[in-house]
């Protein structure tokens, strides 16, 4: 049916809403409960309550990465007034290791979607130098593009996303 398989990031509109098209150049795996999370899969809030293990492949421990986790569909996908809501921000992650070796600028907040099915995106940037990045004043209305530009992070090198809705399902409409 589909001749060319479209990247889930494009299909899910992550490319466009949050990041610009980029060429993935880092090996990046996210494990929730020791299970690898594939892009576009659906997880429950209970499954993502704790921060995931983020494995960055490679060989050079001197290369540092910054990880950003945002929710572009806050508070609801049809009305994303708080786009993007910052859930996690870790900097100075050495290659080959995981996020616990980095500097957690904004602590992990468990996804708590209330209305609709939200996308949660983890974007990885490659740092050129070890840098101190200040936490934004608030989590709402974060802008990944601007953040990357401000901190000279350049284009993302990897990204994955997953979908999440209320634990009891039916993130459907509650009101007109």
């Amino acid at each position: 049916m589909s001749m060319s398989r479209i990247d889930p990031l494009v299909l899910g509109n992550v490319v466009g809403d949050i990041v610009d098209p980029f060429y993935p150049s880092a090996s990046f795996k996210v494990f929730y409960n020791n299970k690898e999370m594939t892009s576009g899969s659906e997880l429950k809030p209970s499954q993502v309550a704790l921060e995931p293990r983020v494995q960055i492949g490679g060989r050079d421990m001197r290369t540092l990465y910054t990880l950003v986790m945002v929710d572009p569909d806050a508070p609801s996908p049809s009305n994303p007034t708080k786009r993007e809501y910052l859930h996690w921000l870790v900097t100075d992650i050495p290659e080959t290791t995981n996020a616990s070796f980095g500097n957690e600028v904004v602590p992990y907040e468990c996804p708590k979607p209330i209305a609709g099915i939200h996308r949660f995106v983890l974007v990885l940037f490659r740092q050129t130098v070890r840098q101190t990045i200040d936490a934004p004043g608030w989590r709402s209305n974060f802008n990944t593009r601007d953040f990357a530009q401000y901190n000279n992070l350049g284009s993302p090198v990897a990204a994955v996303f997953f979908n999440c809705q209320r634990e009891n399902g039916c993130g459907g409409r509650r009101y007109r």
């Binding site: 589909s2 889930p8 299909l11 899910g12 576009g40 659906e42 049809s78 007109r176």
Partner: protein, 286 residues
């Protein structure tokens, strides 16, 4: 292209009827680009109105439309340049729509805008235009769907139908009046073809301008549509990922099978060797 409105009037060999009585007048469709305002005879008007009344699925809209139309008609009498056939011949539907449309989406009187004037036959092959609009073939029901649709339709026509379904949001040329008319007649004449309906859906414009009457319903529809699109995208994303995994795994499987075969052969080979070896080295030193 569009600017030739008035000129085209004169040059147009077709009888004036066309725009209006699309259903009644045969020439409607065929008239080549009666772009500019045509003088419409009185007769078609009635039929158009009748047809429209029959078609109307959304009464409140229609009512509104009529009211607006009448008001607008007077108002637009001034600007004779464009489309105005409607004033005289067809008080209720034509002309103003274009004007209103030009005035801006928010001013749009009604969702039933497509009645717009002329029947510039959809078959018009204006040099400037691309193939005739499929869009005019909206089924009557589509009118009631949303103002957004019509908006799209209008936009389409205005943009000279160059792209049947594309949203040329800015095709507000004045000369497009002619484009509208065929649509109307066609709409009445032709049953819905899904293709045409489809042409509107991708339009982003649909999100603007809900009809005054059924705001909530239309907004809800729009939201639902978007949500459905998101859901489809999610589904497709998952499918793609799975397909990819399947492919990779199959490939791995093939490779592993191959390795397995080779290893087995190697084992067989070694076994053969050892057999002989055993025979040979059967004796001990003693």
């Amino acid at each position: 292209m569009w600017c030739s409105e008035q000129d085209s009037n004169t040059t147009n060999p077709n009888p004036v009827n066309h725009t209006f009585g699309s259903s009644s007048s045969s020439s409607s469709r065929s008239s080549p680009s009666s772009k500019s305002s045509m003088i419409f005879p009185q007769t078609p008007r009635r039929s158009m109105e009748d047809v429209w009344k029959d078609i109307s699925l959304m009464t409140p809209l229609q009512n509104q439309y009529h009211q607006n139309n009448h008001y607008e008609n007077q108002h637009h009498n001034q600007h004779q340049n464009h489309i105005h056939l409607s004033d005289k011949s067809n008080p209720s539907y034509k002309g103003m729509i274009l004007q209103d449309f030009l005035a801006g989406p928010l001013n749009r009187p009604v969702s039933i805008s497509p009645p717009v004037d002329n029947q510039a036959s959809p078959r018009i092959d204006h040099a400037t235009w691309l193939p005739p609009i499929p869009t005019p073939n909206l089924p009557p029901t589509s009118l009631s769907l949303k103002s957004g649709l019509e908006f799209g339709y209008l936009g389409n026509s205005q943009s000279s139908n160059s792209s049947s379904g594309d949203s040329r949001a800015t095709g507000r040329a004045s000369g497009t009046s002619s484009i509208f008319s065929p649509g109307l007649s066609d709409m009445i004449m032709n049953p819905a073809s899904p293709r045409n309906i489809h042409s509107f859906y991708p339009k982003k414009r649909i999100t603007e301008v809900p009809a005054i009457g059924n705001d909530r319903r239309q907004r809800r529809m729009i939201k639902n549509r978007e949500s459905a699109a998101r859901s489809r995208a999610r589904k497709q994303a998952v499918t793609n990922v799975l397909e990819q995994q399947v492919q990779e795994l199959s490939q791995q499987n093939e490779e592993l099978k191959q390795q397995c075969k080779e290893l087995q052969l190697a084992i067989e080979g070694k076994k053969q060797c050892t057999k002989h070896g055993l025979r040979r080295s059967g004796s001990s030193k003693f």
